[in-house]
């Protein structure tokens, strides 16, 4: 597909911003056109945080996503807010550790990921976002796994290097 338009949404603190940036970075390493756009400002305090990532072969005119090809919802408010903007047949990634409900639409490709449980199984519940990230790249093909791993190598260097194996592991921990 020429243009991936992905929205990742969740609580502030769930690492959704970082997930988006990693994909954008990976896309750039692959020579693609990429944009990343956060939600920002004080409304983040209470509610949800989200970011939009576009990866494309063509010049990107606007980083804002009106119709998404994929959405990752890390909590219920995010699901409610963003399932609406998926194009028909779009891909929806849900963290079912936190979301017990189902989307209202039935024209979507849905992936349910028990991210927290999987992360706990890896002995670190902080990597639940990397579990979802793995699922996204696996199922959308937005960027290649090697690219994300390259990004991880940059991210987890120096005194953070010890976190690298765990994160790489999380990336492939989910099996559909």
């Amino acid at each position: 597909m020429a243009t991936h338009k992905l929205v990742i949404a969740g609580f502030g603190g769930q690492g959704v911003m970082l997930m988006g940036q990693m994909i954008a970075y990976a896309g750039m390493l692959e020579g693609k056109e990429v944009t990343w756009m956060p939600s920002y400002g004080p409304e983040m305090r209470g509610g949800t945080a989200n970011c939009s990532v576009i990866v494309s072969d063509k010049k990107i005119s606007s980083p804002i996503i009106v119709e998404a090809t994929a959405v990752a919802a890390m909590n219920l408010p995010s699901l409610i807010k963003f399932e609406k903007i998926l194009k028909p047949g779009g891909q929806l990634f849900m963290n079912t550790s936190l979301i017990k409900e189902l989307p209202t639409r039935n024209d979507l490709e849905i992936y349910q990921i028990e991210a927290n449980e999987i992360a706990v199984a890896l002995r670190n519940d902080k990597v639940s976002n990397m579990v979802i990230l793995g699922a996204i790249i696996n199922k959308t093909g937005i960027v290649k796994q090697e690219s994300i791993e390259k990004v991880m190598e940059k991210l987890f260097s120096g005194n953070k290097a010890k976190l690298l194996p765990l994160n790489k592991q999380a990336l492939t921990a989910w099996e559909a």
Binding site: Q21, Y40, P42, I64, V66
Partner: protein, 359 residues
């Protein structure tokens, strides 16, 4: 040229300013541009520069004047309401002919408004709210890369014209990340030469030259008129030399969109949508908002049925579009406001409405 990096617009602007030789930044926090003072507070001390968190925007623009009057390359940033507070300062800077670069990462207004991207500061930037006859020179980048590339030029123009230059961006390109190639830092020798090229700067006389005086008050009307006419000459020169714009598919067009900054990117996507429906749209993208590229409008073919100002405001640029159009075409508006970004389909729909095309 350095390699591509993925950077947030605001941080890229700040880094580009430093690489352009800016060593002094004065600012007061305001969303959506806080990454700029934050970046400057970390990075400027590393290159021997100075960051001051001012007590207000009034103080920030005053400190900036102080830094610039002393010969420094000074950068200032804020967002819409903060820029409103600097209007007296801008007028004063123009009257004293002190160069500096101002960045407005604009948001929705009026008043406190909202913090999402907006373009409703067009009047503020191009007509100003300071008193008297003066102009800011205003450039509006439509991508982080363009913003970064125009930074050094902005400083040079400011110094050549001895006039503040404003870069009018918005929360969109301030907050987004895009791959960007940062300019190389200007060489130390060049940077150090900047101060020397300012014989008017306040550096202390060392009792080796007559005292320098930078002033704004002229109680004798004749003197004041002379000053204004001198400045006017400069502004005439700017109108000849600083106009910047891009056009796209003007020749084939039956309708012409006019859009600047972030909105121009969206308008380009709308052009494609329209082309798919067999409607040929052209684009004028003003890059300099003052001086405005009125001459671009002379290139619009006579057959064009309408010119449409696409802006995230209620028809502010429309004034200039009308002046440029000289009554040759009906002028329409396509707009969303309040922090909502207009979408390509919305623009396309507005175009079709103006053209009277059935949906």
């Amino acid at each position: 040229m350095s390699e591509k990096v993925l950077m947030k617009g605001n941080e890229a602007f700040a880094e580009a300013a430093i690489r352009s030789g800016c060593r002094y930044y004065f600012g007061y926090p305001i969303t959506p541009q806080n990454e700029i003072p934050e970046y400057m507070s970390r990075e400027l001390p590393k290159v021997g520069g100075s960051f001051v968190q001012a007590e207000s925007e009034l103080a920030a623009i005053s400190m900036a004047y102080g830094g610039a009057v002393a010969g420094g390359r000074v950068f200032v940033s804020s967002s819409s309401p903060g820029i409103a507070l600097m209007q007296e300062g801008f007028s004063f800077l123009c009257s004293t002919e002190i160069p500096l670069v101002i960045l407005n990462v604009s948001r929705g207004g009026p008043g406190v408004g909202g913090i999402q991207p907006g373009q409703a500061d067009y009047y503020q930037a191009t007509r100003g709210g300071g008193n008297g006859d003066y102009h800011l020179i205003v450039f509006a980048p439509s991508s982080i890369q363009e913003a970064v590339d125009m930074m050094e030029m902005a400083f040079r123009v400011a110094e050549e014209y001895r006039n503040p230059v404003m870069i009018l961006a918005d929360g969109l390109i301030g907050q987004m990340m895009e791959p960007v190639v940062l300019p190389n830092p200007i060489p130390d020798a060049v940077r150090e030469g900047i101060l020397k090229a300012k014989p008017w700067a306040l550096t202390g006389t060392k009792e080796g030259r007559p005292h320098n005086v930078v002033k704004s008050l002229y109680l004798k009307p004749e003197e004041l008129e002379n000053r204004i006419m001198e400045m006017d000459l400069k502004y005439q020169k700017a109108k000849e030399q600083l106009v910047r714009y891009e056009t796209n598919r003007l020749e084939e067009a039956e309708v012409v969109l006019v859009a600047y900054g972030s909105t121009a990117r969206i308008a380009e996507e709308a052009m494609e949508l329209l082309a798919e429906e067999g409607i040929q749209a052209g684009l004028i993208r003003p890059i300099s908002l003052w001086p405005f590229p009125y001459e671009a409008f002379d290139k619009i073919p006579e057959k064009v049925k309408a010119v449409i100002s696409v802006e995230l405001s209620r028809g502010q640029m429309m004034d200039d579009v009308k002046i440029g159009s000289k009554g040759r075409f009906p002028v329409g508006l396509s707009s969303r406001v309040g922090g909502i970004l207009i979408t390509p389909p919305e623009i396309a729909a507005d175009v079709k409405k103006v053209l009277g095309v059935e949906r």
